[in-house]
Symmetry: C2
Subunit: 191 residues, 2 copies
């Protein structure tokens, strides 16, 4: 697939066909993601692949509960739309996707957010290049239950940055409107 086409096909996908994603394909995508740049080529990202819809639903429930608890405890201030969405037990933050990838890494790495975001960008392009759809769902990152974290191999020193849905899209919607790039200044060449 050429780059111009890829740019159009990499869209946030939340509606998936009832079709599993073969694990070797997920592994290919993650191999592509290792080519993402990272600060000092430190390559801090770790991945968790969840291919089981029931496990994905459990993770959605955990993340929703943690977010609502933080909101109720005044640690974060969610907007009211999110509060009612998170309180709805039928709402799956992972939209019943067949696969989920967590991009995580050591909390001690200062550049973890940007390193993981770059890797996530590569995952999203790598998936789109293979006819798959993705969506970064930040609401799904709050997995704190020690048992669940243990099952995912997420030791205490690791932080999830990017939960990414993965599956075959029912459709590829047009990009929502983008404003023109906001270029604050152009400092021209001295003559």
């Amino acid at each position: 697939m050429n780059y111009a086409e890829l740019l159009q096909k990499r869209r946030a996908i939340r509606d998936f066909l009832d079709q599993e994603v073969p694990l070797p394909l997920v592994e290919e995508i993650l191999r592509d993601a290792t080519l993402a740049p990272s600060a000092s080529n430190n390559q801090p990202c770790r991945f968790v692949v969840v291919q089981c819809r029931k496990a994905i639903k459990n993770l959605s429930d955990e993340s929703k509960a943690c977010l609502l608890r933080d909101h109720n405890d005044g640690k974060i201030a969610l907007n009211p739309t999110y509060v009612s969405l998170l309180a709805d037990e039928n709402f799956n933050v992972f939209y019943n996707a067949p696969s989920l990838i967590f991009v995580a890494g050591p909390k001690s790495v200062g550049s973890l957010d940007v390193d993981a975001a770059l890797a996530a960008g590569y995952i999203m392009f790598a998936a789109a290049a293979r006819g798959l759809g993705t969506c970064w769902v930040a609401l799904g990152a709050n997995i704190r239950d020690p048992k669940l974290r243990g099952e995912l191999g997420l030791s205490e020193n690791l932080r999830i940055v990017a939960p990414i849905l993965l599956g075959y899209p029912t459709a590829i919607p047009a990009a929502p409107e983008r404003h023109a790039p906001e270029i604050l200044r152009v400092i021209a060449q001295a003559r």
Copy 2:
């Protein structure tokens, strides 16, 4: 350019031909970058384009001085290699690139780091697709002098996340070795 080729061509480039990058090409690249996903499609990124080598050198000097000051004040702990590099007045953190793009955004946006990193990833791919080379140089992000910030249109509420070199590469080096993706767990489909 197809995606597989693009994956190989997007490398960190620090050696550039003595050839300017036409501004319309930079604008094209930034238009591509607006297609990057952002949290809640908030599109918080702002861009500054510096096409003047003298201005770029001044920005390098400012960022180096700020980093060294932070180090000497004990606010950050740079490793000794970086300290001597930053103290070397001939070292330009921007490697004498003909162009420099700052990706910045409002400090108030909680997801700014990841939003800007995704946009930066798009910039790096968009440049590679056009035969240009880029490098994210984190050492160049520390621009604090109010006069310099004013010239760049960077008001106090904005933070630079990604300084990206841009120019025509003298060569495209092979990717430095990457380790295999560290997959902590695969949770398989329930049968």
